[in-house]
């Protein structure tokens, strides 16, 4: 976990602009683009670090991607960094979304527009699945071992996506025992 030899955000402005640019590319959700930009292009984080940050962002209440921006901003520039990253993530998209709401009434029933939105929605789903596939590579170094990770992943996916169980039960039911096992595996 050395971050010394990796590029880092240079300033508050850099944080603001980076997260702004990232948010503006995120049609149908920002997570897929966040993995691509932060890990593959800017290299602020490795896939492993991204998964670690994401676990905390995901487990905390509130919008995950805002939590992630906040945590990365805070890591480099403290509270001001957190605010710069969150502001970058939200300010311009907020203006855009309000402008779109004003236009929406006119285009809501336009069949080609509806078709375009459906197409973008299908691609957005694919982007998120691809982000999951890429991050799964980070599990190779996990002390739980690949077979256990795959089993847990399949169980969690089935619970949420197929059986539609409430997330909180899955996180408690699968997360707590897994934490105990990982704790034992990490024995000094």
């Amino acid at each position: 976990m050395t971050i010394a030899d990796r590029p880092q955000p240079r300033s508050l402005t850099d944080l603001f602009l980076s997260f702004n640019q990232l948010a503006l590319q995120g049609f149908g959700g920002v997570l897929a683009i966040a993995q691509r930009e932060l890990v593959e292009r800017k290299r602020w984080l490795s896939n492993e670090e991204f998964v670690e940050e994401w676990s905390v962002a995901q487990i905390m209440p509130g919008p995950n991607i805002v939590n992630l921006a906040l945590m990365i901003g805070a890591r480099h520039f403290g509270l001001r960094g957190a605010m710069a990253a969150v502001a970058g993530m939200l300010a311009l998209p907020l203006v855009l979304v309000l402008a779109l709401a004003l236009l929406y009434a006119q285009f809501a029933h336009h069949p080609q527009m509806a078709g375009a939105l459906r197409g973008m929605g299908a691609v957005a789903a694919g982007l998120i699945l691809a982000a999951a596939l890429k991050l799964a590579g980070a599990l190779k170094t996990n002390p739980l071992g690949m077979p256990a990770c795959v089993t847990l992943g399949v169980a969690c996916f089935s619970g949420v996506a197929l059986l539609r169980w409430p997330l909180i039960y899955l996180l408690l039911g699968l997360g707590v025992p897994t934490c105990l096992v990982a704790y034992r595996r990490l024995a000094p």
């Binding site: 948010a23 149908g28 683009i33 805002v66 907020l94 691609v123 980070a138 739980l144």
Partner: protein
């Protein structure tokens, strides 16, 4: 929207809305979208501050627009405000709901991240992160799956599923810019291929 209610909201109503969203913020584990059913109950069924169409379109617009999906919360506040008055009230509404949904969760996330980073060598913290990794990756895959399967009939909508699968494969295996894929999806939909 023609079926939008016309409201006269007192400051106590705004305060109630603010307090309600403060609570929702702390309940939104797994993302703010998980509290959407509760928002529907509160805004549409209980208070009639939003019409059904305004509620649904708030979510649809925020998902289609660039940026985090949490902006649907701002749109709900915006619509409540515009039902109660003009652009000024609408902006105020967006500010009320957005501040309330972010303030508690962001404060908590900030403190937690700070603590976790300072104690990152602690065995418990390392165990937590390693244990959560397979689960959060699976949750991500589940989100993609749920987005792909929303309101769709596999027999009629197989081209959408195919598009999802092909885009996932391309992004997984290449460096192609994601915006090209989104544009291609929009074009295919626009010309009625999907």
């Amino acid at each position: 929207m023609s079926d939008a209610p016309i409201l006269s909201l007192q400051w106590t109503d705004w305060l109630e809305l603010f307090l309600h969203y403060l609570q929702l913020s702390m309940l939104a584990i797994g993302g703010a979208m998980t509290t959407a059913p509760e928002m529907h109950r509160y805004l549409v069924d209980q208070h009639h501050w939003l019409s059904e169409a305004q509620f649904t379109s708030s979510i649809a617009i925020a998902q289609a627009a660039p940026g985090p999906n949490i902006l649907f919360v701002a749109l709900m506040g915006w619509n409540i405000g515009s039902n109660a008055g003009g652009i000024g009230a609408a902006l105020f509404g967006a500010l009320v709901t957005m501040t309330a949904i972010l303030l508690p969760s962001s404060t908590l996330a900030y403190l937690a991240a700070h603590w976790a980073h300072r104690n990152r060598e602690l065995r418990l913290v390392r165990a937590f992160k390693q244990a959560m990794a397979p689960l959060v990756i699976a949750l991500l895959a589940a989100t993609g799956w749920l987005l792909a399967s929303a309101h769709r009939d596999p027999a009629a909508d197989w081209p959408l599923w195919l598009l999802t699968a092909v885009s996932a494969a391309i992004v997984w295996r290449s460096k192609l810019h994601l915006l090209y894929l989104l544009a291609a999806g929009a074009a295919l939909g626009w010309f009625g291929v999907l």
